[in-house]
């Protein structure tokens, strides 16, 4: 299921321009991080994936088909969107029911729904919350419930808006692992995030946005070690890049543009004459 944006423009209420000519292609099974300043158009972009917003100019093509004719409900079978604020979707009196709700809407049988609900809760490590009221949970837990409600539908394409906000390190790791598993199963994973370390560690491709346009699109280490791009998107470079730069000024043989711990380790070992 290839996603193609062809010169997509969008303005809220016809005046507040949010996207000005976005073109991109995300292939089946890719894993992409979308980064950028607040108000760069990231959320607007992913709202175009399932037709919540329709381009005022340009086209969104899914699997070779313009999605203009498809309803949001139809597209939601293929594309799961997980929102930033879980409170915008939780409304039932138990976590379990909350997860079954989406499955029922999309037409899964009760038995299958039940089974998916159990496995999803397990995957996210929240089985113990199944009978709890979502409103009595902590912010981070609610966020995971909202995530579970979408994951349970096992969409071909999964898009998440700021999934790491309010999650501790362990939850972040668990989330990353789960997203990787989803990706290994051949699903496309798209994440909107400000969390640069999260992007560098888990997403091979990064798209940087500023002012409603794409300013860079490529391998995450390349995009996120480019000074101009980082500046335009008001991001700080990944810690490993900062470390590499510092080391580079002392030992010029260590390259500046490194993003991963393993890379830096290898370079340091080589520089000091150890095993590589």
């Amino acid at each position: 299921m290839t996603i193609i944006f062809e010169d997509v423009h969008f303005a809220y209420d016809g005046i507040y321009t949010a996207l000005r000519g976005v073109s991109l292609q995300i292939d089946d099974g890719e894993s992409v991080a979308i980064m950028g300043t607040n108000g760069a158009g990231k959320t607007t972009l992913i709202k175009h994936l399932n037709g919540l917003l329709r381009p005022s100019q340009g086209r969104v093509i899914l699997d070779g088909m313009n999605i203009r004719e498809k309803s949001v409900a139809e597209l939601s079978r293929i594309i799961g969107l997980v929102w930033q604020d879980p409170d915008h979707q939780l409304f039932l009196d138990s976590v379990e029911k909350e997860i079954l709700f989406g499955l029922k809407n999309l037409g899964f049988s009760p038995e299958e729904s039940e089974e998916r609900c159990v496995t999803t809760l397990e995957k996210l490590g929240i089985s113990h919350l199944a009978k709890r009221r979502p409103f009595s949970l902590s912010g981070g837990e609610r966020k995971r419930v909202a995530l579970a409600s979408i994951l349970a539908t096992e969409p071909r394409i999964l898009a998440l808006d700021e999934p790491t906000i309010g999650q501790d390190a362990r939850q972040k790791k668990r989330l990353a692992k789960m997203l990787r598993e989803m990706n290994d199963e051949g699903r496309t994973v798209i994440v909107v995030t400000h969390d640069i370390e999260f992007a560098v560690e888990n997403f091979p491709r990064a798209i940087a946005m500023a002012n409603g346009q794409i300013v860079a699109d490529g391998p995450t280490p390349v995009v996120l070690s480019n000074e101009t791009v980082l500046d335009m998107c008001s991001l700080t470079p990944p810690q490993m890049t900062i470390a590499a730069r510092e080391l580079h000024s002392i030992i010029p043989s260590i390259p500046e543009r490194l993003t991963h711990v393993t890379e830096l380790e290898r370079e340091i070992l080589r520089a000091i004459g150890g095993e590589s």
Binding site: S76, D85, L90, F91, F101
Partner: protein, 256 residues
């Protein structure tokens, strides 16, 4: 629900915007009362015709006209139901006047809300000896209406992405579909209210009794003039309605 926009303040610089909020409150209330007094087509039309230049002076006529279109469905609904179920000898005429009355009432108050900033409203209430806490509650309620609207849209988006089809199905299904929207909306509103009150208290709200204000509202001569005209107008209309009786051309009805 776009017609709610006619109750949203718009920043403008106009004669009307510069009036004291109390003057506008009185004028709007007088016009609202007059609209309630009549169920005849001609007087209601006259009220609306009187309001239009006022909105024009407030540079808000275009905005009003644009958003009033959102009322079309409601007006249609009122007309159809009243025409069908009214026991009046001229049901259509009556339903037209009911629709006009709604329009006149909404326009009267939209005149107030379009031109009075929430802060001015609370100032006006304080000057009218309403306790500060209540005045603040009122102006905050007004302030958060658009925010709640944004929440409603975000919630609709979230539920649509879970396969809720808001604009499909029969009436019962559509009513049931409101639940996934309304419950999160209430929860979000309550959570926000709690966090606002916490942040207000942590900034010392209510710590000292005597408050001073940055901006003070003040009655000027033109305010007195308008207040006088409004009150005299109201008395004349009351006399016309209950003492002198309406001239026959004002009682004109549609024939069916």
């Amino acid at each position: 629900m776009s017609f709610l926009e006619i109750f949203k303040y718009t920043r403008q610089d106009s004669v009307i915007h510069r009036l004291d909020p109390r003057t506008k409150l009185l004028l709007s209330t007088v016009l609202g009362i007059i609209s309630l007094l009549f169920l005849e087509i001609i007087p209601l039309l006259l009220i609306i015709l009187f309001l239009l230049p006022l909105l024009g002076a407030a540079k808000s006529l275009g905005r009003w006209a644009k958003n009033i279109k959102g009322l079309a469905m409601l007006v249609l609904f009122i007309m159809v139901f009243n025409t069908l179920f009214s026991t009046d000898p001229t049901p259509f005429s009556r339903s037209v006047s009911l629709a006009l009355r709604l329009l006149a009432m909404m326009t009267s108050f939209s005149f107030f809300f379009l031109t009075v900033h929430p802060d001015e409203l609370s100032q006006a209430l304080i000057k009218m000896h309403v306790k500060y806490e209540f005045a603040l509650a009122v102006s905050m309620a007004m302030r958060y209406v658009p925010t709640l609207g944004q929440d409603a849209y975000a919630i609709m988006d979230a539920q649509k992405s879970r396969g809720v089809e808001l604009d499909k199905g029969n009436l019962i299904k559509r009513i049931r579909n409101i639940v996934p929207i309304i419950v999160p909306l209430i929860v979000v509103a309550i959570r926000r209210a709690l966090s606002i009150s916490e942040s207000m208290e942590s900034r010392g709200f209510g710590a000292s009794g005597g408050r001073t204000y940055m901006d003070m509202i003040q009655f000027r001569r033109k305010d007195w003039v308008i207040v006088t005209i409004s009150l005299v107008g109201l008395i004349l209309v009351l006399l016309l309605k209950f003492w002198w009786g309406l001239p026959s051309w004002m009682l004109w009805q549609l024939p069916f």
